[in-house]
Symmetry: C3
């Protein structure tokens, strides 16, 4: 039980994330700390939630995952720590932990209210340093979760769009744009065997995108859909940014169609009425 991960919107040009490591090592010198990212766009809770959920399953059992996208720091929003069957999660109770927690079996949720585990004096503006880092370090030392504050039944969910089933498929939307310009949707990845019989249609574009198994299978300069490593369908463009080329944004609508193989129209997709 000695790994702590950090997912924040603190950036890397100031002293914020580095200082958290000092606080952690003062309390638990043996903690190994992995930066997931500190470049969540400031205050964008849903982006932090997605990144955390994509990274956290790959860490060792008992890892303490800290996620801080916290526009409400110092206000009445609650801070929580959650114990699940596999991990601990620490952060503001504002939805940033929600997407990761949705896949976990939760054992208990505690509000962080015991100042014994906070830094003294407690600032009103940097709970990453003064609350979340020390709590994570104490958890990593083996302090029982019930010591940190009173129990809480549930956690704040994220308002996130669910795909809508349709005849022969479903409609969802883009929920994340990565560094490469790949557009991740909320459509669950389909089986490799079904790729050949499916396609993705973007709102406002008549010609559907084919589905392929890897980036290399996309004809150079063209776009396609594929099953991302995060478990969702994504749209990629080989050798460039799909988001930029296709004008995709968070919220852009995408429809997945699964057509029985013999009915795929070949080489003459309908292009409008």
């Amino acid at each position: 039980m000695s790994v702590i991960t950090l997912t924040t919107d603190f950036g890397t040009r100031d002293w914020f994330s580095g200082t958290m490591k000092g606080v952690i090592w003062r309390i638990q010198p043996r903690a190994r700390i992995a930066d997931i990212t500190h470049e969540i766009p400031p205050g964008r809770i849903s982006t932090g939630a997605f990144v955390l959920s994509a990274a956290c399953p790959f860490f060792p059992p008992h890892t303490v995952h800290v996620a801080i996208v916290d526009p409400g720091v110092g206000s009445s929003r609650r801070a929580i720590a959650v114990e699940t069957e596999r991990f601990f999660f620490v952060g503001p109770d504002n939805g940033v932990l929600a997407k990761a927690l949705a896949r976990e079996t939760i054992r208990q949720i505690r509000r962080l209210e015991n100042p014994r585990y906070f830094l003294e004096p407690l600032s009103a503006t940097f709970h990453g340093r003064d609350v979340f880092a020390p709590v994570a370090a104490h958890l990593c030392r083996g302090i029982a979760l019930n010591r940190f504050g009173p129990p809480q039944d549930d956690y704040v969910r994220l308002e996130s769009p669910s795909p809508i089933p349709r005849l022969g498929g479903m409609t969802g939307e883009v929920i994340y744009l990565d560094r490469f310009g790949n557009a991740v949707t909320n459509l669950p990845a389909i089986a490799q065997a079904a790729l050949a019989s499916g396609c993705l249609t973007l709102a406002g574009r008549a010609s559907p995108l084919p589905l392929v198994s890897c980036y290399q299978m996309i004809p150079k300069g063209q776009a396609a859909g594929l099953c991302g490593s995060h478990g969702y369908m994504e749209i990629a463009l080989f050798g460039g940014s799909a988001a930029q080329r296709l004008g995709l944004r968070i919220g852009s609508r995408v429809t997945l169609s699964l057509i029985p193989p013999r009915r795929i129209p070949r080489r003459s997709p309908k292009r409008g009425p």
Copy 2:
């Protein structure tokens, strides 16, 4: 005694900071290394000095803090290591360590002149790798400071502006702009109890900014002053960049006024003559 921190202007896109870790681990495999930041603007010594001073107090005793913003690498500027009651500091003697050292009780200062603790061959352009990293690692191993070179009485101070006292307050200036666009001043943070009776006035702006206790207390889209987690007054804008909105730069003048509570003009701040 096993933590080393790095504060540099080396950036993260080249091999500079990563290579320092290799050098450190070759000498002291057990060192834990925390990047404070590598994104100090190239050559901006005062920014490096501020970031180091904001981060260093939060690290474990005996941490070796390395700060390298070193436009004079290879010239006659001296390289030093400093032992204080709590920490070690290693870097060029050009002011980058000054703001942190000003708050420490200094035990001894040594010039780094013993080539036994340098990398061989010594390059003229990358002392981060060839001098500062190996010295930090040897300090972390427990080598006594007096082995590294001759003693030195003092260190190079940073020319930094001090706030000027005024009737009922003081005038200072912006010394740092963080990722969120918060503008940190050199005005020392005041007691929480005094917030309600104070305000900040920016040069060239008639209406003063109220003081609040946390970001969440700032009305959306408006700016305010608050006590930053670094111990100074800062100017923030909830949901945006105060620096951008208010045109704040390093050196922008800011006046803190502390008015006895009953004399605060309410809802009708003077707006010019």
Copy 3:
């Protein structure tokens, strides 16, 4: 044998590099992980190769160096692990390891084909997480290289320009631009003693650049050549970006001339016909 380095084009704003650390620590909890950089421009194999080669010699013996710039992920390109006298190297066999390997004494090369050392299920798009990270961690644990797959005789070389000898010097080109705007060439660094008698000439510019021993020796605002810490001649501008000022790009041609000292034209360099 417990250090792993990462050189990738994954960036730091998504979950890619952080997730690799989780995978590594699940397999080898004692690995120390150094990020060389994750900011290789997407798909730019030659840049990744240069950065790896500049950083890797400075790490402890038996370090496992992982380099992933892998536009062909999921295609038929091979993945390899290489044991040299000093280190291990892991990555796609597309040239990204070539520049580092060219300076090593190679013991054996193995194709990564044994799925026992991969993550299950294996994605088609993120071999950094599913193949390279677990293989590096298993190597770090001491698993013998021959367990990972069949031997291979050679590795894919990088098509990289070699300097062309000329009367009294050689002509090469810019191969790397660093954060500071320094332009690294493929011309090998010359002895310090020869600096005074040499100069660099850029294609299309009549006046040659003098050679100096360190950045500080460059007159403010002017450019010069010097021996970089990576072992090549580089072009720098004190207090600014040489690349920007001189319009240098990857591939810009640069000629190194070594003139016997008494024949250096002083103060009146030829400026065109």
